[in-house]
Symmetry: C2
Subunit: 394 residues, 2 copies
């Protein structure tokens, strides 16, 4: 029998692969200015520090690092991570679980909670990588309306009552893709709604430390009395995405299910990578490193916002206080997906906004990343986009 007769699992029926990952492959060409992806700047990746630390930890604990580890995590990291996570989240945390990038946190949380047909409330638009994850668990994604201050609490409660969701997936700080931040006075109500209705909240907060103006806000988790909120943290944006280390923090009962799920996902996150993050935390390298990154990213954000001011009349865009992304709405009728090929041909890339909506549509939107381009590249690339979009109007 030929292999074409193979029947793949039904979870793939509507999945064709991450649009971002496909764009990555399309733009892997020299000279490309990429506003796609969510990559840190190469200058923000501490290769020398990591090389030194790798050397140290392998010299000191090499045999244990190369041996099998516990699914629950590398013991030294468990200690340093708990202290770090509590500081990040702003409250006592019963348990942490190191994971293979916070993408795995989302996967494990869905594994623990989601049966086919279960409802998950999502922001609209939201991070497409995790939308794909939820779809692969055959969840029904229910978009909840946001305004400029993030999720609208009345709409959220309406949706909870109507759909009885298992999970709310939210990125409260410098949201991906919009750059929006959930207002301070909406954070406690979300934790309260979760407890009122028995809904788990996945608070995905990888951009929290990348703040260039304004005041840090309390996490949703810090208002959580009953344990319904699970905080997903990442070192991808502040140390290195290539190391694939993130974490989950929350109630032990939920994390225990995720740990069992992780046993058959990858047994444990690689010890070397956990040991590197552990030492990065213990040497207290993070504050200085984040300060340096933020100083640079702030300039890049400013440059891109400046260029957007010259875009065609009717263009609207967010003005984030941090993070990696600006969200752009072009005048109605301009299809950013259709124009991507032209842009790529002229060596500039972005992600069409339609991919971030659970229900598609919104062809006039796009997501721009500013962290992975220098100020010069930003000016050059934005001039190309301005030209393409202007011509599309005429």
């Amino acid at each position: 029998m030929e292999l074409d007769a193979i029947r793949f699992a039904r979870r793939f029926d509507t999945i064709s692969g991450s649009a971002i990952r496909e764009i990555f492959k399309m733009i892997a060409k020299p000279g490309m200015i990429s506003f796609a992806g969510g990559n840190p700047a190469l200058s923000a990746l501490p290769d020398k520090q990591v090389a030194e630390i790798a050397q140290e930890v392998l010299a000191k604990d090499g045999k244990a690092i190369l041996q099998y580890g516990a699914t629950e995590g590398y013991a030294p990291l468990l200690e340093s991570l708990k202290a770090y996570a509590q500081q990040q989240i702003g409250c006592e945390i019963p348990a942490v679980l190191p994971v293979t990038g916070s993408t795995q946190a989302m996967d494990l949380l869905c594994k623990a909670l989601i049966d086919p047909g279960d409802r998950i409330l999502v922001e609209d638009p939201s991070f497409l990588g995790n939308l794909q994850c939820m779809r692969l668990y055959q969840a029904e994604l229910v978009p909840v309306e946001s305004d400029e201050n993030g999720l609208m609490i009345d709409k959220l409660e309406e949706a909870i009552i109507k759909y009885r969701p298992k999970l709310l997936y939210t990125i409260p700080t410098f949201q991906n893709p919009t750059g929006k931040t959930l207002a301070a006075d909406r954070r406690k109500p979300i934790a309260e709604l979760a407890a009122k209705y028995g809904m788990v909240v996945a608070e995905d907060d990888p951009y929290r430390d990348l703040r260039y103006s304004g005041t840090p806000l309390p996490s949703i988790k810090s208002y959580d009395k009953e344990g319904w909120v699970v905080f997903l943290g990442s070192f991808s944006k502040i140390i290195s995405p290539g190391l694939r280390v993130g974490y989950m923090a929350g109630d032990s009962r939920i994390l225990r299910k995720c740990t069992i799920g992780k046993q058959s996902s990858d047994v444990h996150t690689a010890n070397l990578n956990q040991a590197i993050v552990d030492q990065y935390l213990r040497k207290n390298l993070l504050p200085g490193h984040i300060k340096a990154i933020c100083a640079s990213y702030q300039q890049q954000l400013k440059a891109m916002l400046g260029d957007l001011a010259g875009f065609p009349t009717g263009t609207r865009y967010t003005r984030p206080e941090g993070g990696l992304f600006i969200w752009v709405e072009l005048p109605e009728g301009i299809d950013s997906k259709a124009l991507l090929d032209q842009a790529v041909e002229r060596r500039v890339a972005y992600v069409p906004g339609t991919h971030f909506f659970a229900g598609g549509g919104h062809e006039n939107t796009l997501r721009l990343n500013f962290s992975n381009s220098t100020v010069e590249q930003i000016h050059e690339g934005m001039a190309v986009l301005k030209d393409i979009f202007e011509k599309a109007i005429k």
Copy 2:
């Protein structure tokens, strides 16, 4: 609402966590002689080589290693891995996919193929970590009978006709937990049955290189004309399990689905870990390293087999030509699970055999690992077990 009201996904209804992982926690005490687990000897873990390589790759390609990578794999490894895999498998391979330990390979293959209720044929007993993986995909596990030469082809075809399985999961070489090897003349028939009936075969072959006597046998994959066989390879037993690098090799259509699944499992396997394995392969360190490991493991196997000869009358055990495990059947009526506490109290650990059977039972069996103990430890630990089992008979 209290968190106890949480409803976890149905896939966890019958899952309580890996027995081996639980035993690991129980035996993490100083002075323990562990015949549980499948850990390499600490002396077999090349910490100095890995430290040197880590230094080199971070110096040479540090920025790319710390940046996001492609889900498809780190480009240099893709090249070296393909050459290596073809040599291992003994045929041309259309595609390879580096994964986060071969445990992830099994997870991705199930993700690609298995809907709840789908049948998977398994050896009985089989590797319990992957049994748990298949159960979490809510597959129905159908045991197929083996004799001393591995899976019985007539029984296999009967089961295929009766159950129309999506997948056969087999560990053909030095099987976990039995140490048995599938006979040469049964390998081609399995590839043929897969093509005849349209069934995917997961050929899980992590122990292939750990051969202490006899002749290497062709892989099942080498007889595969249509692409139904997927080969799962691992570097855990021959370089380091803590690095979490394995691979899948096979048809591009199947690997493409697994790649899409991997996008939302962990985006990509950590680049540093892939780069380390790449250099380990390119420097051609593996042949010498395997030779050294095998020389030592052979002595450990011999010591354990020698000790087993003095076990109570009626004890039967396998005499593997390689791998990490010996399978022991005690006289009927001895319950190895009930006796484990006694053994652990006397600082010796093993895995009760019942955990490896899809349907439980077989309480008189156990799995012994010899790679993670010195010859002295083996004699000491086996004397304790002999004493415990002898007393249990009286």
